[in-house]
């Protein structure tokens, strides 16, 4: 029986009645039976043990130094991944972003050349403006003054002329440039027919000299490699429009002063295809032991320690600590490699986070048994066996606000999951023409299509088109009604139907789509909608069930206390009637249902009849374990 009269686990003693009466308070903080949370913990722990046990097969392949997603790349990603948000307000005239880069996959050589150019521009602002004056002039001249065709021809003229210039000193080159512009009479036309662009055609003598110097300085920055020079200039010349020209100009001017920083910037561009200086955040705030521990033996040991904590968590042993460690440990696997994750890891995190917040060890746990043992022992030591707190502990888990809080978190998050899954499917055409169901159950990688019997069954089913279409329509409509209907209707009297629908859906997903552990996690989560009484009475043991027993003991004999307290701790179904008398020299346990008097040892009777111990009575049959059990029970 749950202790409903308790106020001890209410959210706050000092909260005014006006708050406690509010629907917000009642929904989130009204103390409730923690059994549901305990049940979810056990289910989660069991699935989690399996899921993580499977890592033993692939510890190195998934988490090792040379895993699919190697530690080097994982570390690079968690430190460097960019996040860019659009600006919060529009500012007319303000340039946002960075100029276009050549596509790395389609145009890798141009990309490389341009990155080299940006990394090798002059360091100081003054020198940069001086040496790239020709480029800046072209980029910053508005479209109305310089048509795109002219921009292109003026820029491309640089590489055309470069091929004709001798590899000599500046003065010689200047002279050679002039000769190209004004070939002397009687001298043969240059091998490469150079078309003189508009800027040079319209320039005065002085302007022409300035332009020639600017082009020569630009060529100096472009470097001696003619292929690279061509790629850079052709790419820049292909950029159209005022905005892209201004972006290039701004980008070059704002490049870092030091060569190392510019090189690092280009390296960042090379990997992430964005400018780190315009990002809102770089890197992900994550943690994982597997990013640092790469020695196979050490990895095995760390993983084994984690598995031990999963077992402790499942059984509810030191739950507050073990739950935290398991939550933390599970995140370590997840944060190591996003690439190997799928729905199961998402659900696992949801479960663990809310179990941690909900203090899930208050029920169906070893912690609970330990509390019962402490209470029983305190009662035995108290005068007249009266101790209110101990009686409260023994009469059942007290309602707790943290349990309600945890359960509500599950419920609301579950509704988010279903609503998102359901509504997002409405975007897809195959969900509208009902083909989605077919594609899901016939997916060769997920479904059991590798089994001949399944393939034949599917073929038989679809051979009658009307039957197949009817079935796929039914599956699709069922999926929609469960996923979209659940968040709205689960709060009504229809809850049992929607919970059953959800369980059915996930059974289907487990069997047909092979996502068994995912399905089990989802089922664990949907248990948050089950009434605690259902779990307490139908899944665990109802009070008053099982064989009636009588325990004869003497509370004045201190040596009997441990055994009596242990038996009382394990008597979760209130099977034992307590018979305390100073005449009892030793502890004995009688089966009141037995027709004949039995002289079985106490622990044997307890393991045969107490519902909780009965489920593990095989352990007591193992000789070396039985000795340990007897010691724990204080049985001599």
């Amino acid at each position: 029986m749950i202790n409903n009269s308790s106020t001890s686990h209410q959210f706050e003693y000092g909260l005014g009645k006006s708050h406690q009466g509010s629907s917000w308070y009642r929904f989130w903080f009204k103390p409730t039976d923690p059994t549901v949370l305990g049940f979810i913990r056990i289910l989660t722990g069991m699935v989690m043990f399996y899921v993580h046990f499977a890592y033993y097969y692939d510890l190195q392949n998934l988490l090792g130094k040379h895993a699919w997603w190697s530690t080097d790349v994982a570390n690079l990603e968690r430190h460097g991944l960019p996040f860019v948000a659009e600006p919060l307000r529009f500012v007319p005239g303000q340039l946002y972003g960075y100029p276009r880069f050549p596509d790395k996959i389609l145009n890798p050589k141009t990309r490389e050349a341009l990155q080299w150019f940006y990394a090798n521009v002059p360091s100081s602002e003054k020198e940069r403006s001086f040496k790239l004056a020709y480029l800046f002039m072209l980029l910053e001249m508005p479209d109305k003054e310089l048509l795109y065709v002219q921009y292109k021809s003026n820029l491309e003229f640089v590489i055309n002329v470069a091929d004709l210039l001798p590899e000599k000193e500046d003065q010689e080159r200047h002279k050679a440039f002039k000769e190209i512009l004004h070939p002397a009479k009687g001298i043969a036309v240059p091998v490469h027919q150079v078309k003189i662009p508009s800027l040079f055609q319209n320039a005065s003598q002085v302007q022409e000299d300035i332009l020639i110097d600017q082009v020569l300085r630009f060529l100096e920055v472009l470097g001696p490699d003619s292929n690279r020079r061509d790629l850079i200039v052709f790419f820049l010349a292909a950029q159209m429009g005022d905005v892209s020209h201004q972006l290039i100009s701004k980008f070059i001017k704002e490049l870092p002063q030091s060569y190392e920083d510019r090189k690092a910037l280009m390296e960042y561009f090379d990997i992430w295809d964005t400018d780190p200086r315009i990002t809102n955040a770089i890197g992900r705030p994550i943690f994982s032991v597997w990013l640092h521990v790469t020695n196979p033996t050490a990895m095995f040991l760390v993983h084994t320690v984690f598995m031990i904590f999963v077992v402790l968590f499942t059984f509810g042993c030191w739950t507050r600590v073990s739950c935290f460690i398991v939550w933390f440990g599970a995140l370590n696997y997840i944060h190591r490699s996003q690439q190997m994750l799928f729905g199961i890891d998402t659900m696992q995190t949801v479960l663990m986070t809310y179990l941690l917040l909900g203090d899930c060890g208050q029920s169906l746990s070893i912690d609970r048994l330990r509390a019962r043992f402490r209470a029983s022992k305190a009662l035995l030591n108290s005068p007249q066996n009266k101790l209110p707190w101990a009686e409260a502990v023994l009469s059942g888990p007290s309602p707790s606000w943290t349990a309600n809080f945890g359960i509500r978190l599950f419920q609301i998050n579950f509704c988010f999951i279903y609503a998102s899954a359901g509504f997002s499917k409405l975007k897809g055409t195959t969900w509208w023409d009902h083909k989605a169901a077919w594609y899901t159950i016939s997916n060769p990688e997920f479904s059991p299509l590798n089994l001949k019997i399944y393939e034949d069954l599917l073929r038989l089913l679809v051979s009658e088109r009307w039957l197949g279409e009817f079935l796929f329509a039914a599956i699709t409509m069922f999926t929609f009604s469960v996923e979209i209907g659940f968040p709205f209707l689960v709060w009504t009297r229809l809850r049992p139907f929607w919970v059953m629908g959800s369980i059915l859906l996930h059974t289907g997903i487990s069997v047909i789509m092979g996502l068994t552990c995912f399905g089990l996690y989802m089922m664990a989560m949907v248990c948050s909608f089950l009434p605690a009484a259902l779990i307490r009475e139908k899944i665990t043991w109802k009070k008053g069930t099982g064989t009636r027993l009588r325990l004869n003991f003497n509370s004045e004999d201190k040596s009997q206390h441990r055994l009596v307290a242990m038996l009382q701790a394990f008597d979760i179904a209130n099977q034992i009637t307590w018979n305390d008398s100073s005449q009892h020299q030793s502890v004995s346990l009688q089966n009141l249902n037995a027709t004949t008097e039995s002289s079985k040892p106490v622990l044997k009777t307890a393991f045969d009849h107490l519902v909780l111990l009965k489920s593990v009575n095989l352990l007591y049959a193992i000789p070396f374990l039985s000795k340990g059990i007897e010691r724990i029970f204080g049985y001599r």
Binding site: F11, N61, H292, K425, W578
Partner: protein, 494 residues
């Protein structure tokens, strides 16, 4: 006789553990972490390299193997666990949380500098614990308001994550990136839960052809005794039942998730038409060898997102190389193919009037895209002398192009797959027997059927060679042609 029956209680709580015990554990925890923290402050030196603020530094994050560092890690682990235990004994005690906060703060300094992700974890947790210590000092009304505010924050964050995948509202993007992202990333509650949406699609496999060079050609001559131009091994990830190593297929699904990542495609709109034409013009150079087949169900060119091209594919290649080392041989190159396994259409799956059908594992349902040829390279300045793999030719004409497996004519053999074990031989034989008796419904002439039947029954070759012959009789396999080695053979390594 005195009956001992639990009686209704008044609702009192179990006496709490005295604070001095809690403080003792907390102080032990702090004591254990402060020592490594002091050592850390003296020992650790932060080396800032150019670009390290963008995560490009070359520093190692591997655990240092020296005794002092290992001792520091153990002391921090035990110390923080002690502090956690102290809190768990009496979670409503503000001082316990405060001790926990101090312990976790010193743990952050106590971890070796290479364990930067743990330093981050301890720093965050120390702030969380500090928050709880303040929380338990506050009045109930304030606490009620604070928990309510956290609830609103938490589910607003979940909402931003759920609505973030495109097409997404501007507000949702902003809220996610600017406000909730660090919180949701830290606890991994960042999923949008949009499973199988908008549409369920085909799964992706990864096939790799590894070519080896023998270390001693006198022992392993090239060409090989079978006449191959070199030694090779084909690996297909994930393949059932090899990768299905646990009863519920968890191991298989992990690898499937990994291979699925390679199917994240780049955005076409980020490239210009001219750039897209580059891929086509390069492809046309080898049009003679690999003619463009008419494939209606899938685009012929599919490039991955740039970051996947930069990080994921090279990482996968290095893993494949690392797990496929063969004694006496050196890896010469690795060719990688992302293989989209198309789902059978409803009508294709049905048997026709003659009882013919297409297997869901029919070779023509596999669409391999070439993801590049990678060759080993080692850097002179690498102290570990590790071999890395680089894309051999970034302008490879076939890079990210489809290399289909196409049916040679309209004829198709029932139950024929690429896997001999999976091949439904009985279905094939029964069809052939029908055809050999004059039922030419699938363009297999009776003479051709008799020919294949006799081939199947002959004993002059081993069964796998016979199977391959039948396969190649029906299918033009461009992927094998491109790799130079038949993927059906698996390997020719001795």
């Amino acid at each position: 006789m005195k009956e001992y029956v639990p009686i209704p209680h008044s609702g009192d709580e179990e006496p709490e553990i005295p604070p001095n015990i809690i403080y003792r554990w907390g102080i032990i925890g702090f004591g254990l972490t402060i020592i490594p923290a002091i050592v850390g402050l003296i020992q650790d030196k932060v080396v800032i390299t150019a670009g390290s603020k963008w995560g490009l530094g070359l520093q190692s994050y591997e655990s240092p193997g020296d005794f002092l560092s290992i001792l520091r890690i153990f002391m921090v682990a035990i110390g923080s666990t002690c502090a956690g235990c102290a809190i768990s004994m009496r979670p409503k005690l503000p001082m316990a949380w405060l001790l926990g906060a101090i312990t976790f703060a010193s743990s952050a300094c106590g971890m070796p500098i290479e364990w930067d992700s743990f330093r981050l974890f301890f720093r965050v947790m120390s702030f969380v614990f500090l928050g709880f210590s303040v929380y338990f000092y506050l009045s109930p009304k304030v606490r009620f308001v604070l928990v309510s505010l956290w609830l609103a924050w938490h589910f607003a964050g979940i909402l931003s994550a759920v609505t973030n995948p495109p097409p997404s509202p501007w507000l949702s993007q902003q809220a996610w990136i600017r406000v909730f992202r660090p919180y949701l990333h830290f606890i991994y509650l960042n999923n949008a839960y949009q499973f199988y949406s908008p549409d369920p699609g085909p799964a992706s496999e990864l096939w790799s052809c590894i070519e080896y060079t023998p270390d001693d050609p006198s022992v392993h001559p090239v060409p090989t005794p079978e006449g191959d131009p070199g030694y090779f091994r084909w690996i297909k990830y994930p393949k059932r039942p090899e990768f299905y190593r646990d009863p519920l297929g968890q191991t298989y699904l992990r690898v499937l998730a990994l291979t699925e990542q390679a199917s994240q495609l780049g955005q076409q709109n980020s490239t210009t038409e001219w750039e897209q034409s580059l891929a086509t013009s390069r492809r046309n150079q080898v049009g003679g060898l690999f003619p463009m087949e008419n494939i209606p169900r899938t685009p012929q060119y599919q490039a991955p997102a740039t970051t996947f091209h930069n990080l994921l594919v090279p990482s996968y290649i290095e893993h494949i190389a690392f797990t496929n080392q063969v004694p006496g041989f050196t890896i010469k190159s690795i060719k990688l193919y992302r293989v989209k396994h198309m789902l059978p259409n409803f009508d294709e799956f049905v048997k026709d009037v003659h009882g013919n059908y297409v297997s869901p594992y029919d070779p023509s349902t596999y669409f391999p895209y070439f993801y590049g040829e990678f060759v080993p390279i080692s850097y002179e300045n690498d102290p570990n002398h590790e071999v890395h793999y680089h894309l051999k030719d970034a302008e490879d004409p076939m890079l990210y192009w489809l290399l289909p497996i196409v049916l040679k004519s309209n004829s198709r053999l029932n139950g024929l797959t690429m896997d001999q074990n999976q091949w439904n031989k009985n279905a094939s034989v029964s069809q052939l027997e029908k055809n050999s008796k004059g039922d030419d419904n699938k363009n297999i002439s009776s003479s051709e059927a008799r020919d294949i039947l006799s081939q199947l029954k002959s004993n002059d070759k081993d069964s796998s060679a016979r199977f391959r012959e039948i396969y190649h009789r029906y299918f033009t396999d461009y992927v094998s042609k491109h790799a130079k080695f038949d993927h059906l053979r698996g390997s020719n390594l001795p």
